[in-house]
Amino acid sequence: MFSAAPVPIASRPLTLGSHALRFDVWGVWAVVFAALVAIPILVVLGSLLMPFTDAWAHLAATVLPRYVANSVWLMLGVGLGVVLLGVPTAWLVTMTRFPGVRIFEWALILPLASPAYVIGYTYTGLLDYVGPVQSTLRAVFGWSAGDYWFPDMRSLGGAIIVMTLVFYPYVYLLARAAFLNQSVCALEASRTLGRTAWQSFAHVALPLARPAIVGGVALALMETLSDFGTVQYFGVDTFTTGIYRTWLGIGEPVAALQLAAILLVFVFAVLLLEQWSRGEQRYHHTSRYYRRLPTYPLHGMRAGSAWVICAFPVAFGFLVPAAALAVWTVENAALALDPGFHQLLSNTLILAAGGAATTILAAVLLAYALRLRGSMLVRAAARMATLGYAIPGAVVAVGILLPCVWLDNWIDAAARGLFGVGTGLLLSGTLVAVIFAYLVRFLAVAFNPIEAGLGRITLSMDGAARVLGASPAATLMRVHAPLMAGSVLTTAILVLVEVIKELPATLLMRPFNFDTLAIRTYQLAADERLAEAALPSLTIVAVGIVPVILLSLAIARSRPGDAGA
């Protein structure tokens, strides 16, 4: 064909081999990794196939109905509570103007900073018999013990209140995003058709935002089902406390797994709800026409009511407990100098850094597998691997512990057989196992932002770099690394904080006497030394504020309709 063009093949670098030699490294990695991460879930579900022991029969006859009832009441109570706190605040902050609204926009997510158990301990400390509230009441009215009735925080109702106060921001965030994303068109159409602002809210905005609200409720319910610290301390028996007691107290690992399996049924139900809401949100997008939303200025009584509605959850979800913790911390300031506290800090950091690094590395590799080999198989693997966010920490823990014990015993026996020397426990009770648990639990936290970050690097940018003379490695260094640095760093902070707040998996899996801030907080609270728990609690809350700030900044940046202004 091109006779004038001799083809000096030898002078060209032979860079790629034939097709047959190419091995789909990415696809294999994604599938192997997803299988590894799925192990805990498979073990837990598989336990239902194991023989049900006497211990199980005993559990089923005595405590199981209570676990179910408590879980259902918790879900109902928290579900209702988070809607009542989250939706009106989201609407007021998005659609109306009153003094302080700019502050409430971000302040309303502050309660996310602290884990529920910290808020639970704090309110118990404030409201129990010797706490400041009852002491003041007695001093003012001259009552003494038994003269008056005072609600007991440590009850099912108390747990519902605490979890509502901590988890409502999920509904607030998603509902607010839905209100912001709604096209003005739909609202304006409603107004031109003769509806008032409030009628438009009820008949247009609320139905359009319903999938988002359901999604927020589902997230709050997942957290409710995962909670261990609050219900354990409040004496409200649920599946997580049951798993803990059956495993450590009764010493029946299989029965604990079976309890975990039943808890998973609840989790999957909520997960389905969440997935459904995501699907619906696609159809509830009205039009792509965005403009700055019209806002209604509020005055007088109305502004005052709006202010109170928004201030209530911020005050009781964050300000009051944070202030109490601060006061108690100052009263026990000497503890900060205690070498034991420094040990706590360094232990916590070791776990957090290890968990974050492992999780991020896995998330980056998984995101690249999805980018480079977007096959059905890899997609399914990625989905499978990121399901862990819905699985309670206690379930992940027992799902990992038991295979670790089996594997350890097998290696030990094999080593004895081969070398005559046992290896002891290689995995169980080591940091490796704990960090693997974090990986399973928090992979989705890392994967979603990293995948989004990678999505901003279009495939034609790769092509542009290659055509301009950059090798694949150079493309990675010169284009991907600088563009990904930001999202990797942000994600690392998110995972770091999640690990620091995590309680049940750490409690069940940590090496002997390896205490972290969360563990010490839990132990001090269990010993009724609430004031001493203030310092580690406050540290957790302070750390927890960092992602909240990142989140508020991200929200402020990403508001549609403002970009073009």
Binding site: M1, F2, A4, V7, L14, V467, G469, V479, L483
Partner: protein
């Protein structure tokens, strides 16, 4: 023999079961601008990506500057091919300034030369004063200029452009493609540009290759292709046509507007007759043009440079030969402002160079 800057020989490509390129052969000479034009999904972008090495070659051969860069079992990676590529979405690196985007492909030059080349190429596209801006601060047109500058900076022997103007609004597009044409011609590079817009292709190209369903349907100068389309598809791709069906009788097919010669088609062949709107000559009813027929104006619109007239034929069956019914709806394009009243009767004549005859679709 003219040297070949870019040669594509018998290239085929499939995504799984779906074959998108079927044995395409195409060459581009140094300094020549070839447009690959066709409807979306015809395989033109895939061909461009194969030439750049962004898509792995499956069958055939790619030659750049006289040397094979891709054959089955042998591939030169894109970074070693020395081609410039302008992407449809520009693909500017968002973390780099305009100057550093343009300098990206100049990493082998010493710093001083690199800076000079960046300044030089940015001023060529009129973006010198935006050197320190970031891509997100630029408008679409400015981003397109930077993408072009970045592709040209390493002085590639071959420049490939993938729908480079499709992201721009109409008025801006005309300005930018005019500028781009001159910058590309000045660079002396062999250019292969992909577009789905026939007018754009004719504006830019020294030579056109019309693609359809993975094959090149016709190759030639814009004048060739417009005046002598090889197939009905090529004829209709370059504008709306009046379509008629007829049967060859004595080396010609009879239309209401007169006979059209049908060289090479046997008597009795059913044929499609395609007449460009500008091939219908309109004149006043009493002008006495012999071959003309009468038509009634349905409506007339001024489109700017030309006028567009909807006509209804008044001729009876006789003119059709085969017993077609009249009252057909035709379009005529007349340069400038020509807006006859609705209902006015006009004489319609035919410019035979603007009428094309192909065997009927069902017969092929």
């Amino acid at each position: 023999m003219q040297p070949i800057a870019l040669g594509i020989a018998d290239v085929s490509h499939a995504y799984g079961e779906r074959t998108v390129v079927r044995g395409v052969t195409l060459t581009v000479a140094p300094g020549e601008l070839v447009c690959l034009v066709g409807p979306s999904g015809c395989g033109k972008t895939t061909l461009l990506r194969i030439a750049a090495g962004l898509e792995e070659l499956q069958h055939g051969r790619v030659v750049i500057d006289g040397c094979a860069v891709a054959e089955p079992g042998y591939v030169v990676p894109p970074e070693a091919r020395g081609v410039g590529f302008v992407f449809q979405d520009y693909a500017l690196f968002p973390h780099l300034t305009v100057a550093r985007n343009v300098a990206f492909g100049l990493h082998r030059l010493p710093a001083g030369e690199r800076a000079a080349r960046v300044r030089d190429v940015l001023s060529k596209v009129g973006m010198a004063e935006y050197a320190e801006a970031y891509p997100h601060q630029l408008s679409g047109g400015q981003q397109q200029r930077v993408a072009l500058a970045r592709a040209l900076a390493p002085r590639p022997r071959v420049v490939l452009l993938d729908e480079p103007f499709s992201g721009l609004d109409t008025r801006l597009r005309e300005q930018i493609r005019d500028d781009t044409l001159h910058v590309l011609k000045d660079s002396g590079a062999a250019t292969l540009m992909v577009t789905h817009d026939p007018e754009e292709a004719m504006f830019m190209a020294d030579r056109l290759a019309v693609m359809r369903a993975g094959r090149i349907e016709q190759e030639g100068t814009p004048v060739d292709i417009y005046t002598r389309p090889a197939t009905a598809f090529v004829a209709s791709f370059f504008g709306q046509l009046n379509e008629l069906v007829g049967v060859v009788r004595g080396g010609a097919v009879y239309t209401p507007f007169g006979a059209v010669a049908t060289p090479g088609l046997g008597d009795g062949t059913t044929v499609d007759v395609l007449i460009r709107p500008e091939g219908l000559r309109l004149s006043a009813a009493d002008s006495g043009v012999s071959s003309a027929v009468a038509a009634q104006v349905m409506t007339a619109r001024l489109l700017g440079r030309s006028s567009w007239i909807h006509l209804r034929l008044l001729t009876g069956d006789a003119a059709w030969g085969e017993g077609h019914v009249g009252h057909f709806h035709f379009h005529a394009r007349v340069p400038g402002r020509y807006l006859p009243r609705e209902g006015e009767i006009l004489q319609v004549g035919l410019d035979p160079t603007q009428a094309f005859v192909f065997p009927a679709k069902d017969a092929r």
